[in-house]
Symmetry: C2
Subunit: 386 residues, 2 copies
């Protein structure tokens, strides 16, 4: 009894020996943390007790392997675990399942790194445009980019288009839908996209700028590609999507679609709990950096430090770092910090991020005594000073 | 400046006045918790500062409304917030965006309830089979149902099919893929489904039972429906999917597909962090109860109390409760507790859950001195005793 029988010869034929690494922070004393590391090796692969597994290829090559285990602070350890690339199948759902599936339910385990060999990276699109491509579209070779959001929810397509026109006249590079604009009765998707894209185009003709409008296509995946293609036809210059709401694979769906060819901005909605979990979850760098970039985001929106959210400067720098860290041959994407930003903080942001970021200022452009257009012009001026 | 202009008459025409309720637990002292409730009303809708909004329909009807605010413990409050149904669009991505989008990034806010009017429930499929339908398929009118998982990862389709055959001969009602079985080289999806479905069918012919095989179709959504239809063609009797890995809308995709018509088992992989977050996240009842049921799951798998995960009995009872609480006209679904279950605990489980649950025993059936078949028979016997 308990005799799992496995044709080891056959199994070995299907295992290349190549592995990917997932890096975890583990909470507890050394013994507890080591048990957690050991548990991850089994729970994330065979989901089967070690004592019931026969000696052989499953145990030696399918079960994860602890490659490194080091202290990382008071009652905190860092383990690197290697998994056979074949366990992760060919798409993001199974990769995430191996890296952080069932253990998302166990306390004290945080995924803080993911290192994939070239053979796995080949299954993912990466940014279609990346920093260089987006700069080329916008015609901005070297200053930090600017972005804003059309809001508040409740305005009509025409009212939002008027806003988009003002922002474009003021020179904002990326004018995106607020992420809460979907396909609502009071502001239907098609009419909004048509009007806003047209408004930005008209403004560009007047100014000579190359501003783009990015509508929010977050929706059921079986409708998303149609929305995106319609958006393109109507003149959208990019797409906004919240992958935690519609599945991480939604990014790849958009990044790989033929005939689409638009830059993608990933929004952090619904996923904050992974980053904020105090002794668990997924690190800021992996959640908002590695993963969206792997799946094809050209820029990643996240709540900036010192705004109305709680990320620290260090956490934001981690995201920024992972948006351009070595990741196969993938292009770097832009970090796009936002969330309660004001014009007054522009200089501080340039000091923190350098020139390769997108400063997302939303309601901050509605403040003060100037018009939307004047505020936009002031932002661009400040971004151009560096 | 700062003058948002909104055609109130037009906007009012598009608002029915109907609202849905989201219920939150908020951490902090009374003043802090009240500020959090207020913040949710704005952050989740207009994402715009109140002082920049004009008096009018946006402020009165698009911004959320605090309906109730009550103490819920030490430095803990419970707020019911009403949102116009129109803010949530027509699908789950935007509903979740309003209920728990950006505030997932803010600490101390937990979504613990969701109450939707009939007009919104109409946008969701609910269980196609539910408890009654699944009992009918399985021919088990009133005892608790049994389920097991084919494992460990690494076995070949033939080896897993032999296991499936043993379980079916022993009378296990639902034989599902372990959720880590995807489309791996060492165990390709199509071959596995063909062999396991065939094995279960053969066993049924011998026993007269109506066991079903449920393969795991968790994958990129643009491939999922094809996998599911292929699985059906090959004789699968249901589908396993992990909606937190591929997006909550993946459930609706399967539940609404014409020509598919198979019961769906939702798996909790990757989403545990929402439930486990100590002062944030989404309650067990909403995450594993209300949401999968709304979207069409016929049963919801979750880690049982006293197993190898950390959910408490109270949390499990909450899931069980929400799987049959009033939710429009939707059928109740089955709670399917699992995760480190043993035969010895069967009686305790029946005491806790009554007859309407699926007891999921995985490696527990591999323990002891009996064969897989004998252990399965013993489980069914114990479930039949009540």
């Amino acid at each position: 009894m308990g005799a799992i029988r496995c044709d080891d010869e056959r199994l070995a034929l299907h295992l290349s020996g190549e592995r990917f690494a997932a890096i975890y922070e583990l909470w507890g004393n050394e013994k507890e943390a080591q048990e957690k590391a050991q548990d991850i090796c089994y729970e994330q692969t065979v989901e089967f007790p070690g004592d019931l597994l026969p000696e052989g290829v499953i145990k030696s090559s399918v079960v994860g392997k602890i490659e490194a285990f080091l202290p990382a602070g008071q009652d905190r350890y860092r383990a690197t675990i290697l998994f056979a690339v074949e366990t992760a199948g060919k798409d993001i759902t199974q990769l995430l399942n191996v890296a952080y599936g069932n253990i998302s339910i166990k306390p004290g385990i945080r995924l803080v790194g993911l290192e994939l060999p070239a053979s796995m990276l080949a299954d993912y699109p990466g940014p279609r445009f990346g920093r260089r491509g987006l700069r080329k579209i916008l015609g901005i070779p070297d200053r930090p980019l600017s972005a804003t959001a059309l809001k508040p929810m409740g305005l009509s397509p025409k009212e939002l288009a008027d806003q988009a026109c003002e922002f474009a006249l003021g020179g904002i590079d990326i004018i995106k839908d607020d992420h809460g604009l979907a396909d609502q009765k009071f502001c239907p998707f098609m009419e909004r996209v048509a009007r806003c894209a047209e408004a930005v185009k008209r403004a560009n003709q007047a100014t000579g700028f190359k501003s783009i409008y990015m509508p929010n296509v977050t929706s059921r995946q079986d409708r998303m590609l149609d929305l995106a293609l319609e958006a393109k036809r109507l003149g959208a210059g990019g797409l906004l999507v919240s992958p935690m709401l519609c599945g991480m694979d939604s990014l790849a769906l958009l990044a790989e679609a033929k005939d689409l060819d638009l830059p993608i901005l990933a929004h952090p909605s619904f996923g904050g709990i992974y980053a904020n979990a105090s002794q668990g979850g997924i690190s800021h760098g992996v959640l908002y950096g590695t993963l969206p970039r792997l799946l094809g985001a050209d820029a990643t929106v996240y709540p900036n430090f010192g705004g109305r959210f709680s990320f620290s400067k260090e956490e934001c720098m981690e995201i920024s770092g992972m948006s351009c860290a070595l990741l196969g041959n993938f292009e770097p994407m832009f970090p796009a910090p936002g969330g309660g930003m004001t014009l007054e903080r522009t200089e501080e942001m340039i000091e923190a991020y350098g020139k390769d970021f997108i400063l997302l200022v939303g309601s901050g452009l509605h403040r003060g005594t100037g018009s939307l257009r004047k505020n936009a012009e002031r932002l661009i001026e400040m971004l151009s000073k560096m």
